[in-house]
């Protein structure tokens, strides 16, 4: 069994988790920049975080044969102060040259404010300027549907091909609109909020397996870095074919991420 977890915050996880993921068949992860659970007090704090994502985490993952990729941005929760956010964004172009950086993410909205939207638009412009893939965070709970629509409108106003954008944390009330507008969709398997493996499998059955993936978004909260292999088991016990299971947990992530020339797996033919 081989799978990719395309959204997991390993800076918040122990080395044991890398080992368990490798034992479960994880061959690669992508780690978006996110809110660390507290607001950083300076742009320098983000500089250090970006170094952790581009230097330290790839080495830690490699100890267990897992290829580590990352996405850089200022997350929406810390983007409500535009001046501060711009100081952080100014750091990003130099890091885009790093070999494990897939693009800009996870950008989006948190409380659906004008300030957050301004910074979202500026980071979309950054992705467009540097021809980067985009990974999008959508708000949680009651803010999700409204926020997802605001984000899609902002993305559609850019010239970025929607096929190069993945909108994450979709649920039953947002997945159809995301796919209908040509974007990729990510389902986050999270114990208390977001999706369970059972519901994610339901979504695959109802909306199909094109342009969709699953991830754990494992982080500092109650979360499960083994959520993707658990979803594979859920699909298998329902009787889904292994080709479908591999498609949504391995081949689809590879297809989206391979739009970046930097996404190369050791096992891929040269």
């Amino acid at each position: 069994m081989r799978y990719i977890d395309p959204h997991v915050h390993m800076v918040s996880r122990t080395t044991d988790d890398y080992q368990r993921m490798a034992m479960a068949g994880c061959i690669a992860i992508t780690e978006p920049a996110f809110w660390a659970g507290f607001d950083r007090s300076s742009a320098q704090g983000f500089y250090d975080y970006y170094r952790q994502l581009t230097e330290f985490e790839p080495r830690r993952a490699a100890l267990f044969g897992i290829k580590h990729f990352t996405w850089l941005c200022i997350n929406p929760k810390e983007a409500d102060d535009p001046a501060f956010a711009r100081d952080v964004i100014a750091l990003i172009p130099d890091f885009l040259k790093c070999e494990n950086v897939m693009g800009i993410g996870e950008i989006g909205l948190n409380k659906n404010t004008k300030n957050e939207k301004i910074i979202l638009e500026e980071q979309i412009a950054l992705a467009e300027t540097y021809n980067q893939l985009v990974l999008v965070h959508t708000p949680h709970l009651e803010d999700k549907r409204k926020g997802t629509r605001l984000i899609m409108d902002a993305l559609s106003a850019s010239h970025i091909d929607p096929g190069r954008i993945l909108i994450d944390h979709v649920e039953e009330h947002t997945v159809a609109e995301v796919l209908d507008r040509g974007f990729w969709a990510g389902m986050t398997l999270y114990p208390d909020t977001k999706m369970t493996p059972q519901r994610a499998t339901d979504v695959i059955e109802m909306y199909g397996s094109e342009r969709i993936w699953m991830n754990s978004a494992g982080d500092w909260g109650c979360s499960d870095p083994l959520a993707v292999p658990k979803a594979r088991i859920e699909m298998a016990r329902r009787g889904h074919q292994m080709t479908l299971i591999d498609k949504v947990t391995l081949e689809n992530p590879k297809a989206f991420l391979s739009q970046s020339a930097k996404f190369v797996l050791e096992s891929d033919p040269k």
């Binding site: 409500d80 659906n112 949680h140 009651e142 999700k144 649920e171 039953e172 059955e205 909306y207």
Partner: protein, 105 residues
Amino acid sequence: MTDEKYSCPQTREQVIHLYFMEHRAKLLDVAAFLDRIDRARPVSDAVDFREAALKQAIQILIDGQAQRAKRVLDLLSDATTEIPQSAHGMKGASGAVRPAAGDAT
């Protein structure tokens, strides 16, 4: 959307066999939660907006119509179109739509 009618590879009987115990337990959790609310002393006469939303959502579960999960999520979603300038002073997400100041709960 794919052919939703029979998109699950299992028979109806197999689905019930596989998932009944799990969802029986979840249903009992909801029942016990509502009992717990009743047993807790209220601090005002107002019904909490989350409790009201939960009871509304429960009606969706038994109305016999499709897309229950989507419709529950829609019910629990903010339908406003206004965009505040800043998040400063805003409360965190609560899982249901918080009534605006002055609205009846």
